[in-house]
C-alpha cells in the first residue's frame, strides 16, 4: 500500500489579503507549493453574509500560488481545498493552517502499529439555491464524506476526528433566482440560510459516519437538535455553491509527524471537554511544555438554541446588534485560547447539528 506524509503548518496573517508568511515558507524551501492539499483559515470579517474577507483571502492565495503552480487562479482554487472561516472575535488571531500531502519515501515512518494524521478532500456538485438546507445537500455531503475517507486512507469511522465542510449560503439574488424558476428556498434570509446550510451539511456528515440513522433528513434540520455529528465543522460562505469536504483523522498509511484527536463540548463552557481533547493527543492544558507541541485546536461554537447555559439565561440570540455566531466564537475562543495558551486557534461559529445543541466538536492537532 502507498503511504503519504502529511505536514500541518500554522501561519499568522496580517490581514485577509496577506500572503507574505506563506510565500516566505515557499521561498525558503520549507513548503513545496505543489504539495498543498488544503488551507483552513480564520479571517477577520464578521463571519456573516457580507463577510468578504473570506473570498478576498482565497483570491489572494490563488493569485499568488498561480505563478508557483503554473495554473490559472481558478485552477488553483479547484485543486486546493480552501476553507476560510470568518470571525476572529475576542482573543482569536487571524491565521491560516496549511495541510500538505506528499508521497512518503520508501521505508520512512513505517510503523504499522501507529496511526498518524491523514487528510482527505472531496467536493459535491453545485447546488441550486432551493437545495440548500435540504435533502439534496444532505445526501451529496454524505457521498463526499465517504469519498474523502477513501482519499485519506481511513477505513474506520472512529479514526475520523474532524470533518470540515465549506458550504454555500443564500443571497437575495439566489432567492430570486429560485423564485423565478417557481421554487421556494428554505428561507429568504441570507443570515438564516447559513444555519440551514451548515445544519444540513452536518447531518450529511453524521450519516456518512454512522452517527445517526438513514431516516434523519431535512425535516430535522434546525428543528430537532437530537441528531448531530461529533466531528463535523461547517462554515457557510458566499463564494461557492457546492460543498467542500476536508476530512482529518489518523491512518496507518500516514507517516505524518502529527496526530489528531477530539472530544465534544456539551455546552459553550465545557472546559473539561477541551481538556479531554488535549489529553487525547497526549497534551495537558495549562502547561507550557504541552502548548509547544500543540499545532492547532479546531472547534465549533454556538449559542445554545434554548437561550440558556446550565439553566442560566444568555442573551446571544436576542442581541440585534451582534449576531449570535460572533458572540459564541468570542466566548468559546476565549476558553480554548486560555487552555491552549494561544489565540491562533480555529474556532468557527454556527454549530447546528455539529455537536449537541449549544455545544460542539473540539479537535486537537499535535506533534506526535
Amino acid at each position: 500500500m502507498h503511504r503519504n506524509s502529511f505536514d500541518v503548518i500554522r501561519i499568522p496573517t496580517n490581514g485577509p489579503g496577506d500572503v507574505s508568511g506563506l510565500m516566505a515558507l515557499i521561498d525558503s524551501g520549507a513548503l513545496e507549493p505543489s504539495s498543498i492539499l488544503a488551507v483552513l483559515g480564520k479571517t477577520e470579517g464578521n463571519g456573516g453574509v457580507n463577510d468578504f474577507t473570506r473570498e478576498y483571502a482565497v483570491a489572494a492565495l490563488c493569485n499568488v500560488l498561480s505563478s508557483r503552480l503554473k495554473l490559472a487562479p481558478r485552477e488553483v482554487e479547484a485543486r486546493i481545498a480552501f476553507v476560510m472561516s470568518g470571525g476572529t472575535e475576542g482573543v482569536l488571531s487571524p491565521h491560516i493552517t496549511v495541510f500538505t500531502r506528499s508521497p512518503a519515501p520508501e521505508g520512512v515512518g513505517e510503523n504499522p502499529s501507529e496511526k498518524r494524521l491523514s487528510v482527505g478532500v472531496a467536493h459535491t456538485r453545485d447546488f441550486l439555491p432551493e437545495e440548500i438546507g435540504r435533502d439534496a445537500q444532505i445526501e451529496e455531503t454524505t457521498k463526499a464524506v465517504e469519498a474523502a475517507m477513501r482519499d485519506a486512507s481511513i477505513d474506520a469511522v472512529s479514526d475520523v476526528h474532524f470533518v470540515q465542510i465549506k458550504c454555500p449560503l443564500l443571497t437575495s439574488e439566489r432567492v430570486q433566482d429560485a423564485g423565478a424558476r417557481g421554487r421556494t428556498t428554505v428561507t429568504a434570509s441570507g443570515y438564516a440560510s447559513m444555519g440551514y446550510s451548515r445544519g444540513a451539511s452536518a447531518i450529511g456528515v453524521a450519516k456518512a459516519l454512522g452517527e445517526i440513522g438513514a431516516e434523519v433528513g431535512e425535516d430535522q434540520v434546525l428543528k430537532d437538535w437530537t441528531p448531530y455529528s461529533s466531528v463535523a465543522s461547517c462554515s457557510a460562505g458566499i463564494e461557492l455553491m457546492h460543498n467542500v469536504v476536508i476530512l482529518i483523522g489518523n491512518s496507518r498509511l500516514s507517516s505524518s509527524p502529527f496526530t489528531i484527536g477530539h472530544a465534544v463540548m456539551r455546552d459553550a463552557i465545557d472546559l473539561p471537554a477541551v481538556m479531554r481533547a488535549l489529553e487525547s493527543v497526549g497534551l495537558s492544558g495549562i502547561d507550557a511544555q504541552s502548548q509547544s507541541r500543540l499545532v492547532n485546536v479546531l472547534a465549533k461554537a454556538e449559542a445554545s438554541p434554548d437561550g440558556a447555559i446550565r439553566g442560566l439565561r444568555h442573551t446571544m440570540l436576542e442581541d440585534s446588534d451582534i449576531n449570535a455566531t460572533r458572540h459564541a466564537r468570542a466566548a468559546v475562543g476565549g476558553l480554548i485560547a486560555g487552555v491552549s495558551g494561544t489565540g491562533a486557534v480555529y474556532v468557527s461559529g454556527g454549530a447546528e447539528h455539529q455537536g449537541p445543541a449549544g455545544g460542539g466538536p473540539v479537535a486537537v492537532i499535535a506533534r506526535a
Copy 2:
C-alpha cells in the same frame, strides 16, 4: 469594636427592568431591604455610551425598593451603591449581586484569627466634565477609597481584594457645557471618555492602596501603562457625574460566611491566574464540588493596547463594528465561565490601569 455581618446574594434577572428575583427574596424574609449596602449588576446593554440598560436597571430597583424603605427613589439611590456594568456578551448571564451589611449579634462569629468578607462604600463629589480623566478625578477617588476602607473596617491594604468604581463619562452635551465655560475636556468622544474616566479612577485606587507612588498623575492616564492597580475595577456610566466606590476585602471585624481573594491576569488568556484566584479562597476550578461554594467571580477584561496577545495579533482594536470592550468581555467571560462552571459572573470591560495592559484583576467570592 463593633462587628458586622455581610451577606452576598447572586440573583439572575430576566431583563434590565426585572426586579422579581429581588422582591421574592424580600417578600420571603430572606433579604431585609434596609440591610442592602450595594448592588453590583451585569445588564445586557452594549456597555457603551448609549447603554441605557444600566440606568433603567437602577431606576427599576430604586422604584421597587422605594416603598419598602419608605424613601423616595432618589433617596434609595443615594443610600445604596448601585453599580451596573453593561454588556453580557457571549456566555455571560445577566444578574445582580446584592451585598448586605447588618450588625452582628453579640458573640456570633467572633473568631479574631479569621478574616471574613467585608464591604465599604464611599462617594466622591460630582465632577465637572473637564475634570473627568484628570487629576481631580484621581485625587478624589484616592480619598474615597480611603474612606471606603475605613467603612469596611479594613486596615491593611493587603486585605483589599476588589475595589469597584462607578464613574461618569462625557456626552456631546457635557463636552459642549465645558466648552461654553472655556474649558476643554480630555476628549470629545463619548466612547473614548469612558476609558479616560476608568483609567483615572484606577490610578486613584492604586494611589490609595500604595500600589504606585504619589508622582503618578493625569499625564500617565491612557499613555503609560506601567502604573496600575491589581484590584481596581471601573465602569463608566452616563447616569452619574461622581465616582462611587465599593470596596471589598476581608476583615477581622466581619462575621460574614464569605471570603474573598484575588489574582491578576497578565493577559486575556491567563487561565493560571483564574485558577490562582479560585485557589486563594480554597476552591479549585474544573471541579463541580468547588463550583457549588462559589458565589461570584469579579473580573476586568480589556483588549491589549498593543494589538497582540503573546505575540499574536488580535483584531479587537481595529473592529469598527464591535467595540473592543465587547470583544474583551466576551472572550474573558468565556474563559472565566468555563473555569467557574457558570455564566453568571461579573466580567466588566475596559481595564485601563486595572491590572497590567491587556490583563486585569480577577477576584473570587466564596462561601468560607
Copy 3:
C-alpha cells in the same frame, strides 16, 4: 352628537427615561394629564429584540404620570396607549408625540363642512406565542381597528390616514413556552418574529379598511407582498403580548386645530410621495413657512425585499453587522427630515405589508 377636541404636542427628549419636557408642560398647565389618550415616541435604542429603551420610556412615563393621575403605574399603562418605536438612526431625533382628547365646549369649532384630526384607540386580547404572525393576530387586529374607528367617530375608511399598531414579538422563552405546550411558533428567531408580527397586524388593518379582501390570511404574511395597507404602521416590542391600535384620521365630530393626510411611498427614495403627503394637508416641502405649520410626519421604512431599488442593488439585507430595519430608518429618515426641515419625525422600521414592498405609508399632521 358629541364633539371632541384633539391636541397633538411634539416633545423632544434627552434620553429614553427623560420625562422633563412632558412634566414641564403639565406643570405649566399647558397639558392636562387626564386628557392624554396616546403617546407615540421615537426612542434611541436599536429597534430590535433587545431594545429596552422602549419599555424604559414607557415605565418612566407611567411612573411620573402615576402621581398626577392618581393611578398605579400599571393602570396608567392600561389607560393611555403608549407606542415607542425604537431607532433614531441618522438624523432622526428622539421625541414623543402626545395626543390628547377632551370634550369640545358647546358651540366651539362646530363646522360640519370641515373634518379635523381625530384619534381612536383599541386593544386586542393577549396572544399566545404561537398566534403571533398568524390568523388569530390578523383577525383580532381587524376587530380592534373597527373599534378604534368608532372610538374616533370616523365612519368612512377614506378618512383614516394612519393606523399605528404596537404588537408583540417572540423571545427564546416564549418560543420555549409554545413548544412546552406542543405548539410551534411561526419562527424561532426573535428578530424574524418582529417582521411576522408587524406583517400580520398590517394585514389585519388592511382587511378592516377594505383595502384587501377577506380571503387574505396568514399564508400571505411575509410571502406574498401584494396585499398591503396604505395607512398601517406596526412596531413590535418585547413588552406586551397583545396589539394596541391608535387610529388617526379626520372627523366632522372633531374640533381639533389639526388635520392629517397621507400618501404612499412606492420605494424608499420616493421623494414625490413625501411631497404629496405634505401637500395633502396644504403644506409644501422645502419651504420654511410650511415647515412651521408641520407637527409631525409619521412614516414606515423598509429595505425592499427583492434586494434592489429601481433596479439597483442595495446591501441592507446582506449586512450582518447592522439590521436592515436600522438601515431603512436611517435612509428614509434622512429623506423625510430633509423635506420636513427637522429630524424629530416619526420614521419607524419594518414595513411588511405596510405600503408596497420596499415602500411605506407617509402621513403628515399639520396645523389646519
Copy 4:
C-alpha cells in the same frame, strides 16, 4: 494648447471583487483601458478601520487590468488613481465611477467659450505614522492639489468643484512603529485617526484653493471647525500611506460631454443645497427627465459634532453599536438618492473640515 476629452462611466457592482461590468465595457470596445485615469468607487464594507472591501476592490481591479495594460498589478495601482469609499448604508448602491482621459482629436469639441469636465491627478509622498493628521500631511496635500489643478488644465480655483483625497489611517502596528522611533501619533485609536487624516487633508485642499489662510495648521484640525473646504472629499483607507488627489472641475481645454458643479450642504438635512447643486449643472431634482442626464452625485456626510441638527439632538455620536460615519452616510444618502432618483451615488462619510461642521460639499456631474 493641447485639448483632452474626458469620459465618466458609472458601473454597478455585484460585490467588492466584481469586475465584470468594467470588463464587459472593455471587451465591447466602449472603454479603452489605457485611457483610465481614475476610479471612484463605493464598496459595501463598514467604511471603518477594518473595511477590507476597499483594498479587495482595488486588488481585483488591478489584477484584471494588469493583463489588459501589460503591467504588473502594482504598476496598475501606481498608474490609475483608485479611491474606494467604504459604506453603502441604507439605499446606497455599490458601484464604481470610471474617469478616462484621452487626447481630443484636432478640432473636435473646440468651443473656447464653454468649459467642460476635466480631471487631474497627483500624489503626495508616503507619510510616517506620526505625520498623519499634522502639518506634514497638510502641506504635502496643498502641493499635490496644485499639481492636480495643472494636470487638469484648470487655472481658476472657482473652476474646481470636487477634490477627492484618499488618505491613510493608523493601525495598532503603525502606532507602535512610531512609538518604537520615539514618536507619538496624533491618536492611538485607528478609528479616530481616520478623522484626523481626513481633516488634515481637507485643510490642505482649502489652503491650495485659497479658501483659508496660510496661518491655519494642525492645531485647528478637529478642534476649530471654522476653517473648511467647500469642495474637499477625503476618505481614509488602511491600504496606503500617502495621499492621492483626484481633482475634478471644468476647463476650456476639455472637450468632455460632461460638466460638473457643486453646492455646500450646511447640515445633513439641507435639501435646498442638494437642489442648488443639481441646478448648477442645469438639472432639476424630482424630475425624471433631469435624472436621466445625471451621471453621479459626489457628496460628503457627517454627524454634526455638536450633537444637534437645527437645535434638535441627534444620537449618532453616542451610538456605541454603529459608528457615526455609517449613520451619516445612510441619512444623507437617503436624501440625495431621493432627489437624484437613484441609490448609485457617491456619498462618503467623515466630512471633517469638508464643508461646515455637520454639513459637506455636494457635487453633481451631468451630461452637458
